[in-house]
Amino acid sequence: MSSSILRRIRIVFSTLVFIFFVLAFIDFKSLIPSNFINTLLYLQFIPSVIKFFDLKTLAAGGFLIVILLTFITGRTYCSFLCPLGIGQDLNSRIGGRIKKKFRRYGFKKPFTILRYTILAATLIVTIVWGIYMITLLDPYSIYGRSMTYFVKPVVILINNFLAGIFGKFDLYTLSNVPLKGFPLIVYSIPAAFFLLVGGLSLTKGRLYCNMICPVGTFLGLISKISIFRIKFNETACTRCGRCAMRCKSSCIDFLKADVDITRCVSCFNCIHTCQDKAITYGIVSFKKKVHETDESRRKVIVGSLLLLLGMSRNANGQDKKAPKPKKESTVKENKTSPVCPPGGVGIADFNKDCIACSICINACPNGVLQPAYRQYGLTGMMQPVMDYHKSFCTYNCTKCTEICPTNALHPLLLEAKKLTQIGKAKFIKDNCIVKTEKTACGACSESCPTKACHMIPYEGNLVIPEVTEDICIGCGHCEFACPASPYKAIFVDGNLMHVAAKKPENVQSEIKTPVEFPF
């Protein structure tokens, strides 16, 4: 096929995919059902690979479809399905509007050593140490974090602005959404990648995809033997170079009438731009190619790799965060372990499968899922952790477990979630208002959905909390509600392994239905 219809299909398809991905990540009202989002995420390469190795079932084999697709069509995934790729294309367009020069690409030599080293390093680090490099470099996760950290807050601000205006007219279809930021430090990595990918795509097209992205490099390897690819009709070609100028991947060497198929993302811009109809997309015919190496570049790569490996050695750290002291409560909460979200099975198990794509952080209707900074150690940075100072885990909700694309959070039925103990509430009597102020409180027990936290007689008419740990599920509503400050009088200590909580027992009240007014 040589007509520009291919390009048009690509643009329409990728636009739809992109719109959907934007909506999925800014959906702060949970309007999109989880299974809809799951379908979309099924074909995301890295999440699917991780889910596959976690579950060992073909049902999670979206990535196999992507590989097959690449075998047949080349790196169409990068142009049609990757939200970061599509986002970069969009950004390149904007770049072209700003400065025409930004959209004139021309052929560049491939960063062969760099990209294959990154791919190899990612593989090795992931197999030997864990998921850290994937977390950093996976395009879907980078996209997810960019949306979560930078785009969604803007959407919420706009929503709140409109909600304010609507409110003046007595309309409440939009409601104000309190905007709570994350700890500053966790913005560092998303910000770095947002600027890197954004900057590169604005001025240089698909450079991230062809220099750094391990998924792009891997699919590029497969596309070496792909069946369909961009081809030149050398007799028709006038060597005008328009195609090379329009190639976002800078992979067309028009003088040699050659396309570097490992970098071509099948955007079909070249076909569209070729006035001689010399470029087509069709079944392969092979051609020889020579590779070159660069020593100094190699050194840089090794250096940066060591840096990354050094990072991955940091072990699990503790929550060192201490709220600004006022004067009231005195006993520090002794949190031995962070609380990882329900469905995580256990902290170690969760940490090894989570790529910090942040979709659960977006989906959580209560905003209790927050990106970790040191709770899981440096390597678990940006993975979601339960932050009970910000919010609590709402009892009737399984959203995060439904939406996780890598199965780091296993799907839980509501009944199971209500009995999944992710941590245990610990009561610190010396911080409790009832003891320190000698006045009634009970905010913790009031909030407790299982009444693991309940009140027992104290001095005089007063009652004071007590925790029955085996029916506590660690939802953190007690910790959130506790008014003691700076240290809470009740807090949830995370379970290293999630366990089944006992079902709360209840007996029918002895109070009878009245037949007469008691007054």
């Binding site: 009202k29 949970s30 709140n160 304010g164 409110g167 007595d170 409440y172 409601s175 104000n176 959404v177 309190p178 009231e328 209707p365 209560n366 709402t394 009892y395 009737n396 909700c397 208002i433 102020e437 006045t439 009634a440 409180c441 009970g442 905010a443 027990s445 009031e446 909030s447 407790c448 959905p449 299982t450 009444k451 309940h454 009140m455 008419n461 009652v463 509600a481 008014p483 003691a484 400050s485 709360p504 209840n506 007996v507 029918q508 009240s509 109070i511 009878k512 239905t513 009245p514 007014f517 008691p518 007054f519």
Partner: protein, 308 residues
């Protein structure tokens, strides 16, 4: 000071009381004075029917909704929507009752009826699963969020012992008539939640109340100038233990009762009897009584009791 008492004194004692009230809105007070005088009872209690039918009867005994709501007025109905549970578990006000009250308000000529609560659980789920959002909207009310501090405005409570300032939902300030519709429940700490404690859903910072003598704060807030024209206490299904959230249906006793009164201290005293708790054990009731915010001595009140 109860509005009716205030009116009585001002009628009897001339303009002296006028100086007490710094705020505007005198005309509103006078207009409701005429109706209050028409009401024969301090309290109406109904037993044995469905929430909506009991309200129909009860409000009729108080002279109909037009005794409380004038044509063109804006009404705030404040139910308890604090928890993400279904209506049968009675942690929230019965949605049928809320709906019926809204209908009566519109029939009396209300221009607009608003419903909101500052919930404890996730507000979207509370509004939805309580059944209140749907039925209130079907009756034509505006269901307003209370989830963000931006909806709350700072007010002063002169004379408050522990609570002198609070941030209240702007609707409380902007509406003409406030109808308090609590559900009677056991409460883990204060022993009972009903009329006065329902106010905690009007304010933003509940934590302050909890850490600064909860019982005193509950009484203090009742000093605030905007008081309910009517309290409708939902005792249809009553959570008698594990309150205020409840664990399961074993916590619920069907009482099929409703109490209507303009005096929220009296309402709370009657509710305590329903729950089988001595009135003086619920600390904020005697405190509020002593502060002159209402009358907890039910014997001195004119109560109409109706069985359906």
């Amino acid at each position: 000071m109860k509005r009716r008492d205030f009116l009585r004194t001002s009628v009897g004692g001339g303009l002296a009381a006028g100086a007490v009230l710094k705020m505007g809105g005198f005309d509103k007070l006078w207009s409701s004075k005429a109706v209050s005088a028409a009401a024969k009872y301090d309290m109406v209690a109904v037993m044995g029917g469905n929430p909506d039918a009991m309200f129909d009867l009860g409000i009729q005994e108080l002279g109909g909704m037009s005794a409380f709501v004038q044509k063109g007025q804006k009404v705030l109905i404040k139910p308890n929507i604090g928890w993400d549970v279904i209506p049968d578990l009675a942690a929230n006000t019965n949605p049928l009752l809320v709906k019926r009250i809204i209908e009566h308000c519109f029939k009396a000529g209300a221009k607009e009826v608003y419903v909101f609560d500052h919930t404890c659980d996730n507000w979207v789920n509370c509004y939805k699963n309580s059944g209140i959002e749907k039925l209130a909207k079907s009756a034509g009310a505006k269901v307003v969020p209370g989830n963000s501090e931006s909806y709350y405005q700072q007010i002063e409570i002169p004379g408050g012992v522990k609570l002198q300032k609070a941030k209240v939902h702007q609707l409380l300030l902007e509406t003409d008539v406030f109808i308090n519709v609590p559900v009677l429940k056991d409460h883990n700490s204060t022993k009972m939640t009903c009329c006065l404690k329902n106010n905690m859903g009007l304010v933003w910072d509940r934590g302050y109340w909890h850490s600064n003598d909860l019982n005193q704060c509950i009484a203090d807030f009742a000093l605030f100038e905007k008081k309910p024209a009517l309290n409708v206490i939902d005792c249809y299904n009553v959570m008698v233990k594990h309150g205020p959230q409840g664990v399961s249906k074993e916590d619920i006793v069907s009482m099929k009762t409703q109490i209507l009164t303009a005096d929220w201290v009296a309402g709370d005293a009657a509710a305590a009897k329903m729950l089988g708790v001595a009135v003086d054990k619920i600390e904020y009731i005697p405190i509020a009584h002593k502060m002159g915010l209402g009358n907890m001595n039910l014997d001195s009140l004119n109560i109409k009791r109706i069985k359906m």
